[in-house]
């Protein structure tokens, strides 16, 4: 099932939660909607589910107009951030709910319902909890039951709102893996919302980066990480060093000094130079386009992280860089810095 989102606008009063959003999700994809809170990602998910209605635009499932259908008719499995399990029903009844409320004409027999629920509980590996109540489950268990409940109606699309948001770090990591594996098994078109870039990059086939009600970039995890299209994406995904620069006639200037860097076709005007922390090479004083004094060094795992004060004309700017451990740095060292890879974006007005 493909999902097509065309030109969706949603306003809450004067606030535009979604500002002309277009998105196409192909059959069997697992797509992440990634963005800070308030970026409109949850609103978009709720509109696709039919829990919210757009002010303008079109939603199509396999080409057919989804806005003609209510939430219940869309056959969309929705997993809520806080699970929203029915608190007065057992785990079994929670999962069975979607099957029991079907119109009499298509409703399965009691035996078929039982079999289906047991299959789903096996799928999420929690059959032994069938008779428990939601309040007796851990967060991770509740999340998996919520997923089983959503899958019970054989949804054409699976939507997950911050599926791991309320879990602790360890459970979160396990469930992430598990969701990835599950998706490979059942292959239903899925869309999940997250504000955690690691989650998005690790789980999704494609990542949709959103900010302020707009889509900033759509791409594979590698694309959005390696080739961010906007300053926002560069800053939001991965750690970045950001320097205020000025582009003039294809030259990049930091303060009064001309950096010997190609402007990469960036337009003239105030701009920002983005460099990944690990893309900043450290060498002898005159080896790079920038110079700085090492202030503080800490070492953990494979990297050595250093605070370096840039002695550029505009004063001192402190940046954080990652270097391999064999390149020994000590506080007080004066070093040359050279961005191996970098991007230049026009400064935001």
């Amino acid at each position: 099932m493909t999902i097509e989102v065309r030109n969706i606008v949603k306003r809450f009063g004067a606030f535009a939660a979604l500002d002309h959003v277009d998105l196409k999700v192909e059959t069997g994809e697992l797509v992440a909607l990634l963005g800070p809170s308030g970026s409109g990602k949850t609103t978009l998910l709720r509109i696709i589910a039919g829990l919210e209605w757009p002010d303008e635009g079109d939603i199509r499932f396999d080409g057919e107009d989804a806005l003609q259908q209510g939430a219940g008719e869309r056959h969309v499995g929705f997993v809520f951030q806080h699970y929203a399990l029915f608190r007065h029903m057992s785990v079994f009844e929670n999962v069975a709910f979607g099957l029991r409320v079907q119109p009499r004409a298509v409703r399965k027999s009691e035996a078929a319902i039982r079999a289906r629920v047991h299959d789903l509980l096996d799928l999420v590996q929690l059959r032994w909890l069938a008779e428990r109540y939601p309040s007796q489950l851990s967060g991770g268990q509740r999340q998996r039951i919520a997923l089983a409940r959503a899958l019970a109606i054989e949804p054409r699309i699976l939507l997950l709102d911050e599926p791991f948001g309320a879990l602790d770090a360890k459970v979160r990591k396990e469930l992430r893996q598990w969701l990835r594996t599950l998706h490979d098994e059942i292959h239903v078109t899925s869309l999940f919302v997250t504000h955690d870039q690691e989650e998005a990059l690790e789980v999704a086939n494609r990542v949709v980066v959103m900010d302020k009600g707009r889509i900033e970039q759509i791409g594979t995890p590698a694309e959005v990480y390696d080739n961010p299209r906007t300053a926002f994406v560069h800053a939001f995904i991965g750690e970045s060093i950001v320097l205020p620069v000025e582009v003039r006639d294809g030259r990049v200037r930091l303060g009064a000094s001309d950096l010997d860097l190609a402007a990469d076709g960036a337009a003239s005007g105030p701009s920002q130079l983005f460099v990944r922390r690990h893309d900043m090479d450290v060498g002898p004083v005159d080896s790079g386009v920038l110079r700085g004094a090492v202030r503080r060094v800490r070492t953990f795992g494979p990297v050595q992280r250093a605070d370096v004060a840039l002695t550029s004309a505009g004063g001192e700017t402190l940046i954080e860089i990652d270097t391999p451990r064999d390149r020994r740095l000590a506080p007080g060292d004066v070093v040359g810095l050279h961005p191996r890879r970098y991007r230049i974006f026009a400064a935001e007005a």
Binding site: A49, G50, L51, G70, A71, G72, E73, R74, H75, V76, G77, F78, F80, H82, A84, L85, F86, R87, H88, F97, G98, V101, Q102, Y133, S135, Q136, R149, A150, A152, I153
Partner: protein, 293 residues
């Protein structure tokens, strides 16, 4: 060494406990005061009601209750309570639903308006209905011309009682429904349930105990209401006297024993209400604890 340390820790704890607790004498004094107050103002009157009611023996008690006027008062009171509670159940649910599940202009105003019947004297509530439906008002004259009695009849008593007891169900449900939010309903709808099914299968079970609790309090007040009903009832003997009104009439006619016999029924209702309320409160607290887990 370790023992000495733990002993010191225990002593430190005790010292802190002491700091938070009053001396024994003060403690006992405060408890005694509370118990004495409760005894004088609540237990004693309750006991007295029953003592007076049975003063002339069980036969006289039964005879007093078997009196046609008493019988008619009991029937009227039960009828009024049943209708009022039924109406307030529906209104209260609708009101709580509107306030808890939707955002709309005037929502906060509505929340404060719900409490109006609590802040207004019941007598005034009664008078409002007299003004509204009395012969001197246009509406009242129109109704009287069509032979539809409101005042001095069952509809007036029901209206006054409903007005006075309106807040109980709504006030019990609103905080509960606000706390529960709308996610479970949304989940039910997205799983294919109709709005009605979501209400019956998800919302209603979640608010069940709160709803019963509200009905209970509403019922107790509906049966005991005096002021508002007194204004609109007209005190027609054997017709529009509810139990509280009858108690007053009997008392004024020096039929003390009969007055207390009827009053004892109301007191009994109060005791039953109290017991059921205690049980319900425990269920509600359990529900809340489960939710917090």
């Amino acid at each position: 060494m370790a023992e000495a340390e733990s002993a010191r820790a225990v002593r430190a704890c005790e010292a802190r406990n002491d700091a938070l607790t009053e001396p024994r004498l003060v403690r006992l004094g405060i408890i005694a005061l509370a118990v004495a107050f409760l005894t004088v103002f609540i237990v004693l009157p309750l006991v007295l009601v029953f003592a007076q009611a049975f003063r002339e023996g069980i036969a006289a008690y039964i005879a007093a209750l078997a009196d046609p006027e008493a019988q008619s008062a009991v029937v009227l009171t039960l009828t009024v309570a049943a209708i009022s509670v039924g109406l307030n159940l529906v209104f209260g649910l609708v009101m709580a639903w509107a306030i808890a599940k939707f955002e709309f202009a005037g929502r906060t105003l509505l929340i404060s308006l719900i409490d109006l019947p609590f802040s207004v004297s019941p007598v005034i509530a009664g008078l409002v209905f007299v003004l509204l439906f009395g012969a001197q008002s246009a509406l009242g004259a129109w109704l009287i011309a069509r032979d539809i009695p409101i005042l001095f009849a069952l509809p007036g008593i029901v209206l006054a009682t409903t007005f006075v007891t309106f807040p109980f169900v709504a006030r019990e449900l609103i905080p509960l429904m606000l706390q529960q939010g709308t996610q479970e309903e949304e989940a039910a709808i997205s799983l294919g349930a109709s709005g009605w099914r979501a209400f019956v299968r998800v919302t209603l079970p979640n608010i069940k105990w709160g709803l019963i609790y509200g009905i209970l309090l509403c019922n107790a007040r509906a049966m005991g209401e005096f002021g508002a009903v007194s204004v609109v009832s007209g005190h027609i003997r054997g017709e529009t006297n509810t139990m509280p009104l009858l108690v007053e009439i009997l008392y004024n006619e020096y039929q003390i024993m009969a007055a207390f016999a009827v009053a004892s029924l109301l007191a009994l209702l109060a005791v039953v209400t109290l017991v059921v309320k205690a049980v319900l409160e425990r269920r509600l607290a359990e529900g809340r604890r489960q939710r917090d887990h």
